[in-house]
């Protein structure tokens, strides 16, 4: 009896319950997306439908009209790339080093990496504004410099993703084995640790890209143009196009998720020489 109950409590939900949960959650995600798609075909408030909002995107004068938006998309992609670069070049080696050589600093590093999640973007901007006045003097006012701020905002997410993977592999033993076989530490990091940290690194990269593509507050308050600020601007003159681009951004994130999921779950390739 008691054993049965225990089993029941620990058991997976039935197939019906699972489908129900999946259905409800799926609906929560899908309904707004469907509504957005529906909206892009509306012809003003008249109640009938048109494809002109979509076809208009590819017309000649729209290229001029939305040039700002395309630039903003480019900016956001560059920002995503630089942010991922910061995570991989700064955070990853730091975490590996702390994990292997200075395990006592682990708590401190974790604390530092978690802080950004507790700081509202607006507070961050207030602090960053004077910093950026210096950054502009040194590196110019290009949008990509925003990636320094984004590098901080993605820390909590990237840290979690990488740390989970670090804890799951015997980093110390593997690195020691590699160094007794003649590998220097860069080689250890590159040929031994990175391939085994692929899941964590990819997850960290993806989540960083997702955060950067969806970021509005910092860009807006520091007067930079990225995808989100441009979308807001466009939506004021042409709400349909803004929704179309929002849909495109969603689709891009979805495709990224699929690709990264694929890469992460693929078994190590067997190379035949």
């Amino acid at each position: 009896m008691t054993a049965n109950q225990a089993v029941r409590i620990g058991a997976e939900p039935s197939a019906l319950t699972r489908r129900l949960i999946l259905g409800i959650i799926g609906a929560i995600f899908l309904i707004p997306v469907i509504a957005m798609i529906e909206f892009t075909f509306r012809n003003g408030l008249a109640g009938d439908y048109t494809t002109s909002h979509w076809t208009g995107l590819f017309s000649e004068d729209s290229a001029r009209t939305y040039r700002g938006l395309y630039e903003a998309i480019e900016n956001s992609l560059v920002l995503a790339a630089v942010t991922v670069g910061i995570v991989l070049v700064l955070l990853l080696p730091t975490m590996v080093l702390v994990h292997m050589q200075f395990p006592r600093l682990k708590r401190t590093l974790e604390f530092i990496c978690i802080i950004p999640i507790t700081v509202p973007a607006i507070v961050l901007v207030v602090g960053l504004a004077p910093v950026y006045s210096v950054v502009v003097q040194v590196l110019g006012g290009s949008t990509w410099t925003l990636a320094f701020a984004y590098g901080i905002t993605v820390l909590p997410y990237a840290y979690r993703a990488i740390q989970g993977n670090l804890d799951a592999i015997p980093v110390k033993t593997l690195s020691e084995a590699a160094s007794t076989l003649g590998a220097g530490w860069l080689r250890v990091l590159w040929t031994i640790l990175l391939p085994n940290l692929r899941r964590g690194v990819l997850a960290a990269s993806f989540i960083s890209i997702a955060v950067v593509l969806g970021e509005f507050t910092i860009a807006s308050l520091l007067n930079r143009r990225n995808l989100q600020t441009a979308l807001l601007q466009v939506s004021q003159s042409d709400p349909w196009v803004a929704v179309i681009f929002a849909l495109a951004a969603l689709a891009l994130a979805f495709i990224l998720l699929l690709i990264i999921g694929r890469l992460g779950s693929a078994t190590p390739s067997r190379r035949k020489s």
């Binding site: 991989l88 076989l181 003649g182 590159w190």
Partner: protein, 362 residues
């Protein structure tokens, strides 16, 4: 994404020189107030297999890791082949090491794992493959070359690890309790294989273990360690027959603890006067350490009752409670089969014994 990384290759150019001399002199290493190595001196001859044996925390693993360079030392000298390597990083010491934990690279096949060391030494691909297969053949795992670590048993993984360590023909092979995660049968097989390969290749080897049977079985010489010091170093026979002190006697082989009296440097025990092994001790009560094979079941002598008797293949070991309540283990031929409860008499054969001060537990 990682364009800023530069690849560095090992600069150690390899010359196959099996059998280097390894010397540790006055090596000291402390961890946060705890002295792991307290002025260790050790010399391993070319092609020799020395086992470092001792209880956990005695510093044996630290000593091995110091030789490998995975642990830096506070003072002293570590000399391999006449060259002080104290400041040489691990990857340039030209060593091979097998770890206690499974350490195969999970994203590489067996063959790629074995090739790794050669790749670091920039051996051409064809030659690399040939030598890796050759070495895999020595451990009998050629047919598993395309598998990954998770597809192998623990014993197979350690075999591959051994092949990976040997493929570069290192000057020194370091084994850090390589068998302790394996089950008993595989452990015995693999230790014999290690010994065979080591002898064939003539590689100077240091083997760390806490299992005295393992140490006695494979080593040319065994160094018994305690509290960061080497208590005694010698052949297995020397350690067993003439332990330098009671710790060694107690740690190596099986010993009965029997209350005795030390009179004029002689151990007096149940009317027998036995020579004392190891350092002289002050007269008075002591605990004598008597080997099971140094006591015999005889027709007359010290009275006792059999507690149990176990058959060990070529011999039998019987536990007897003596009239003074001391329990002793006695080793004898299998033909004699005492039953529990049987009254027997035993006699000391008169072999020299080690002794402990009376109140010390170990």
């Amino acid at each position: 994404m990682t364009a800023t990384f530069t690849m560095t290759g090992p600069t150690a150019t390899h010359t196959p020189t099996a059998g280097a001399t390894v010397q540790l002199s006055a090596v000291v290493k402390a961890f946060a107030g705890h002295t792991a190595l307290n002025s260790i001196d050790l010399e391993v001859a070319p092609g020799e297999l020395v086992a470092l044996l001792g209880p956990s925390g005695c510093g044996k693993t630290t000593a091995l890791r110091s030789i490998s360079g995975l642990e830096s030392i506070d003072s002293g000298r570590i000399v391999i082949d006449g060259v002080d390597v104290a400041d040489t990083p691990t990857n340039k010491r030209d060593i091979g090491m097998v770890f206690q934990a499974y350490s195969l690279f999970p994203h590489m096949t067996v063959l790629e794992n074995v090739e790794f060391g050669l790749k670091m030494r920039k051996v051409a691909a064809a030659r690399r493959r040939e030598r890796a297969l050759e070495t895999l053949d020595m451990v009998g795992l050629t047919k598993h070359q395309d598998r990954f670590a998770h597809q192998l048993s623990g014993g197979q993984q350690q075999r591959v690890a051994l092949a990976r360590a040997l493929v570069t023909r290192p000057r020194v092979l370091l084994l850090d309790e390589p068998l302790s995660a394996l089950d008993a049968k595989v452990r015995v097989q693999l230790r014999e294989e290690i010994r065979r390969l080591q002898t064939e290749l003539g590689i100077t080897t240091v083997f760390v273990t806490h299992d005295q049977e393992e140490a006695l079985a494979v080593a040319d010489r065994v160094a018994v360690m305690r509290d960061g010091r080497i208590e005694q170093i010698g052949t297995p026979e020397e350690l067993y027959a003439t332990p330098a002190n009671a710790f060694v006697a107690d740690f190596v082989g099986l010993s009965n603890r029997m209350p005795a009296e030390l009179v004029d440097g002689q151990v007096t025990l149940h009317g027998c006067s036995l020579n004392l092994l190891g350092d002289p001790m002050p007269d008075g009560p002591v605990i004598a350490l008597v080997r099971p094979e140094d006591i015999a079941l005889t027709a007359d002598g010290i009275a006792g009752t059999v507690i149990s008797s176990s058959f060990l293949g070529s011999l039998r070991r019987t536990r007897v409670r003596l009239f003074d309540d001391t329990v002793v283990a006695i080793q004898h031929e299998v033909e004699r089969h005492p039953l529990p409860g049987e009254a027997v008499t035993v006699r000391l054969k008169g072999a020299p014994v080690s002794a402990l001060p009376p109140k010390v537990k170990k």
